[in-house]
């Protein structure tokens, strides 16, 4: 725990050269966030569609208006799926990517090479990853939300379980913008957990390729557990 915070102290320092920092941020934004959008899109479409089907099956009471299908799909997506589930997916994808990349650099002495040059390796390697991922996290959440709703619309269109008008009416019904902010806030916290923990486990990787594998696995497991713990805490705090 202490080692993690000491690393974060080393990370959150003024970059040596802002030009190098911004270049790295752009590179990491592409690699960690934008390249994850296709995976998140595919999963969001299917979850949106499944949410609609399950809601239709559970709302067979004729006294419940059909527009609740859209309402339920929207609430499932915005409250839990687009932040927590997407973060758990990202913990696997970008968490393992970061931990193995930094871990490999550690065991092949590339990090030592930076330190000897006088470069703050933690600041150079980790800060752009955390910064770009956290800044782009609302974009990830909103993309997942929009694509999930489209997935729901697609299944409504394909099955005709409810009409499109009912679905859209449900999407607009009792809409609380606060839920979107809540989801964005959760996503930002989760993204920080994923990137900083994966960086920590990679930065202190030991023991060759086995050590890199171990650090990658640990980063996914611990990030996932912490995401769930913080999900609970933030929900209690913000809702």
């Amino acid at each position: 725990m202490g080692e993690y915070w000491l690393l974060m102290l080393k990370v959150f320092q003024k970059p040596e050269k802002w030009r190098v920092f911004f270049k790295q941020c752009a590179f990491e934004a592409q690699k960690l966030t934008l390249d994850s959008i296709p995976l998140i899109s595919v999963i969001s479409i299917f979850i949106g569609a499944v949410a609609v089907i399950q809601t239709v099956n559970n709302l067979d009471n004729p006294f419940i208006p059909k527009m609740y299908v859209g309402y339920m799909a929207r609430e499932i997506l915005v409250l839990e799926f687009c932040s927590t589930m997407v973060a758990l997916i990202l913990a696997g994808k970008i968490g393992s990517n970061i931990a193995s990349e930094i871990g490999s650099m550690r065991i092949t002495e590339q990090i030592d090479a930076m330190e000897i040059m006088g470069v703050n390796s933690a600041n150079y390697l980790i800060l752009p990853k955390i910064t770009s991922s956290v800044i782009l996290s609302p974009f990830v959440m909103l993309s997942s939300f929009a694509i999930g709703l489209l997935g729901g619309a697609a299944i409504v269109f394909a099955t005709g379980a409810v009409t499109m008008a009912q679905y859209v009416e449900g999407l607009q019904f009792a809409f609380k913008i606060h839920y979107v902010y809540y989801s964005i806030a959760k996503m930002a916290v989760f993204t920080f957990i994923i990137t900083s923990l994966a960086s920590y486990f990679g930065y202190y990787a030991k023991g060759g390729s086995l050590g890199v594998g171990r650090s990658s696995t640990l980063s996914i497991v611990i990030s996932s557990v912490l995401i769930l713990v913080f999900d609970l805490a933030l929900t209690k705090l913000l809702l």
Binding site: E109, Q110, A113, I116, M117
Partner: protein
């Protein structure tokens, strides 16, 4: 000049370096030799500040490196270049980007100036037309040369080489050794090389320190090493049968 006074380093209560004192002069290739596990890599990493010694002093010129804070050490580190055992080239960067890496941080040169310097360094290590290649596209010897080019990119005062010949064939090893020696003399660099390769010792060992179980047992030049009366050193130098026969002939 680098001066080491009474250096101690331990890991988990086990002494890895014991009371090491030695001096390294500019324009000389100073070698740290010893068997695997003797503590020579720990000594080299202590010199560059990757390990913090428990006791003792390391002086760079008139600056006491061991008492400096991290930010103060930075000024010394900018004057260091290091060639790692596995080259430690950055996988994410091409050859020229690797060499320009320290320039990106510590100079305000334009891209043209940085490219010019990178090309100069590559030419100096006899490696041209490899600018756009990635480290995994290079042979071991080429990687070492790029490592040297990166180490000299900012005209260092101090050059450290950790097993520069490991994994190289004897011919390439000699090429790398001579290159390090030429650069050391040409730019009057204080060069410290960690090796257990006896060819390197005989080829470029202006000054040699023999480390045995964490202690410095012998110090001298490549001309003196064959006539030492240090038993542990002789066991190390004349480890193989051919060397033993050579020694017997010399004694006759």
């Amino acid at each position: 000049m680098i001066r080491v006074n009474n250096l101690y380093k331990e890991f988990d209560g086990r002494d890895v370096l014991k009371n090491i004192s030695i001096e390294y002069k500019p324009g000389e290739c100073s070698l740290i030799i010893g068997a695997s596990g003797s503590g020579k890599t720990v000594l080299l990493k202590s010199l560059v500040g990757l390990h913090i010694p428990e006791k003792g002093e390391i002086w760079y010129g008139d600056k006491l490196f061991t008492k400096m804070k991290d930010k103060e050490k930075k000024s010394i580190r900018k004057e260091m270049g290091m060639l790692f055992q596995g080259s430690a080239l950055f996988d994410f960067a091409t050859v020229e980007e690797n060499i320009m890496f320290p320039m990106d941080f510590f100079t305000d040169w334009s891209l043209e100036q940085k490219l010019e310097r990178a090309n100069f360094c590559l030419k100096r290590v006899n490696l041209e037309n490899a600018n756009k290649k990635y480290p995994n596209e290079l042979s071991g010897g080429m990687q070492k040369r790029v490592g040297i080019a990166r180490a000299i990119a900012l005209n260092p005062k101090y050059l450290f080489c950790d097993e520069p010949n490991s994994g190289l064939d004897p011919t390439t090893s000699i090429v790398i050794d001579r290159l390090i020696q030429e650069i050391t003399q040409e730019y009057n660099i204080t060069t410290v090389i960690n090796t257990h390769d006896m060819n390197s010792v005989m080829e470029i060992g202006d000054k040699i320190g023999f480390i045995y179980k964490g202690s410095k047992l012998w110090e001298g030049s490549n001309k003196e090493i064959l006539h030492s009366d240090c038993k542990e050193l002789n066991d190390f130098v004349f480890a193989n049968k051919m060397a033993q026969q050579l020694r017997a002939l010399m004694n006759k």
